[in-house]
Amino acid sequence: MSTKEKTGWIIGGVLIVVYCLAPIAWIVSLSFKAPSDLANGSFLPTTPTGENYGLILNGSASDLFLPALRNSFGICLIATFISCVLAMFAAYAIARLDFPGKKFILGTALAVAIFPVISIVTPLFNLWRNIGLYDTWPGLIIPYLSLTLPLSIWTMSAFFREIPWEMEQAAQVDGATTWQAFRKVIVPLAAPGVFTTAIIAFFIAWNDFVYGISLTSTEASRPVPAALGLFSGASQFEDPTGAIAAAAVIVTIPVVVLVLVFQRRIVAGLTNGAVKG
């Protein structure tokens, strides 16, 4: 690559990074501004203050925010776990076994995945109220599964298809049962795929707003995105912008951490060297 091309790439890269990170930087800067400072017209706060963080973690908004944070973590982790386990078996069956209705299952999964959430949320609201799932953890986990499961099945079956058939046959010849072959050979090989899927599933559940706001009413199950919408200022003349920004920063942190931690696993091509090289 010539120097000219190189500088071109660097400039392009910087532009994209700035474009993507600008809103986040703005939110971070907002979260450090005092209420009177919010409309100061400049990007940086005049005097940085931790007031907003204090408000949501210890102050008046903490009643709203902290339970929501706990709910979000609990609900999303459970939904991710269930959907990963189920999707692993489903994807294995789809990738390996020949059974009638395979295409139908994949097609349905895709249809469910692209079904507009807003159109089912009203009937679901009525149904949940009638059967007592309204404002409970399972009441959110179940709809979240409907969002994450189809996507997980699709991603994971793609990963499973990449694993050579011979691996499993070799294990069977070596004396493994189907279950042993799956557990000792297929699952370790599919680990990057499982992690990738888990992260995607977690994001989908973590980012959901429509179900969160519609199917909950109290801090018993309200997730963070819904709670953010319910923040209010100290008086009705005061904007809760600073507190919302601080909360937004806090809910972004787990996502960023997750990606950084598992980045290597996602990228790692674990099947290298399995077959001829």
Partner: protein
């Protein structure tokens, strides 16, 4: 260790196409059996039916006296080396080799001893802690073999194990496999499409075509007494030449002059009109270089040489000839079936490397008539096959094998006793 018997094995796929059609084959205990044939002949399917990765549509598969048709692969106690090795990439070489033992819940100290033994045999000691991804092709191949030999399997199954290696390594691994099999004396079934492997490794070779057995015999018998046109064309490199011929009394008229047949062969071809004469390239020679004492068993003819190839130790000459359309199409079909593309009717002739025969000139050749075979172009059948001579060749090969196995067993016990002392 066990014998493998197949009785009327049939494999039909969903569309009713028989990939393997009514195959009966007995593999003796300790025997090295090769399954060979062009692609799509059903050889890999047959191997996978032995190991249990493919269902058997009908027939009996008997291993060591037990019918195994309905047994899962893990209950058959066979070990297999796959074409692409199928090593477990997330495990070290040590754990790869130990995997079958771990599944069998072998105690750790015994696992360690057996893996070290296998690693000794295959010279894998310094690689035991590495991952398969960091090994070369030949090393991976050895790990796959280590995984196969580490436990006391009833038989070894190889599915084209050398086809992913380069030519030089393939030669080395070939001798390595032969040595290992002799040393361990374990029944081995080896699938290949490479006829060098088939000829050099096998005690017996089973030639398959479109799911049916053509001939099961020692490599020598296959080479010298092939049962039909297909086997004759498949075994041997460069392949056997097939010349059109018409019968005239006790001799055959061919593009390379008349061929005089002895009584037995003349009787066998009587009553046929158009025939194919099968002549191996090495039955020809540059007439000027043939010993006078030998000259009378053959015939000489002159022909125009199209191309010569000098390879140092030997030399090939290509001689084009004319053939009737019927023969031409028959030969084209045959070469298609053998995975090759024969564009013109030409004879490949092996001559001495010192021969001064040059391209584009007329030259005089000598043809050894003693081992010439005559085939019926319609049925492909070898009309002049000497079954007794063939059986004798296979019997001799069997004796050799038994001797070698006994010797290997003796050598092994000798080693052990010194090891113990």
């Amino acid at each position: 260790m066990a014998s493998i018997e197949m009785k009327n094995i049939v494999k039909k796929y969903g569309d009713g196409f028989p990939a393997v059609n009514d195959i009966s084959l007995d593999i003796a205990d300790g025997e090295f059996m090769i399954l060979v044939g062009p692609s799509g002949c059903g050889k890999s399917t047959l191997l996978r039916m032995i190991v249990g990765l493919e269902d058997i549509t009908s027939g009996d598969m008997v291993i060591g006296g037990t019918r195994v048709n309905d047994k899962a692969p893990r209950d058959r106690n066979l070990s297999m080396v796959f074409q692409n090795y199928a090593l477990y990439p997330h495990m070290s070489v040590y754990e790869n080799i130990a995997f079958p033992l771990r599944l069998a819940k072998t105690p750790d100290d015994q696992v360690d001893r057996l893996v070290k033994e296998a690693a000794d045999v295959l010279e894998l000691h310094e690689h035991l802690e590495r991952k398969p991804a960091n090994l070369s092709g030949g090393q991976r191949q050895r790990v796959a073999m280590g995984r196969a030999i580490v436990r006391q399997a009833e038989a070894f199954l190889f599915d084209e194990p050398l086809s992913n290696l380069d030519a030089k390594l393939r030669g080395q691994m070939r001798t390595e496999i032969a040595r290992l099999q002799r040393r361990l004396g374990i029944t081995t079934v080896y699938v290949t499409h490479d006829q060098t492997e088939a000829m050099t490794l096998g005690d017996r070779v089973c030639v398959l075509r479109k799911g049916s057995i053509q001939q099961v015999a020692s490599p020598r018998e296959l080479y010298e007494q092939p049962v039909n046109l297909f086997v004759a064309g498949f075994i041997g490199s460069p392949p056997m030449n097939f010349l059109p011929a018409t019968v005239e009394g006790s001799s055959l008229r061919t593009p390379f002059g008349a061929i005089e047949l002895d009584e037995r062969r003349a009787a066998a071809v009587a009553g046929h009109e158009l025939l194919l004469v099968g002549i191996r390239p090495e039955y020809f020679e540059d007439a000027s270089l043939v010993d006078d004492a030998k000259k009378h068993v053959g015939t000489t003819f002159t022909a125009k040489v199209d191309v010569t190839e000098w390879l140092g130790d030997q030399q090939y000459a290509y001689i084009p000839y004319e053939a009737p359309d019927q023969i031409r199409t028959r030969l084209r079909d045959l070469s298609k079936e053998l995975d090759s593309e024969e564009l013109r009717t030409q004879a490949i002739v092996s001559i001495d490397s010192t021969s001064r025969i040059r391209e584009g000139r007329e030259a005089e050749f000598w043809l050894d008539l003693r081992k010439v075979h005559v085939f019926d172009p319609e049925t492909g059948e070898n009309l002049t096959r000497d079954a007794e001579a063939g059986a004798e060749l296979t019997r001799m090969a069997n004796e050799d094998r038994e001797e070698q196995v006994a010797e290997a067993a003796g050598g092994l016990t000798g080693e052990r006793s010194t090891g113990a002392a």
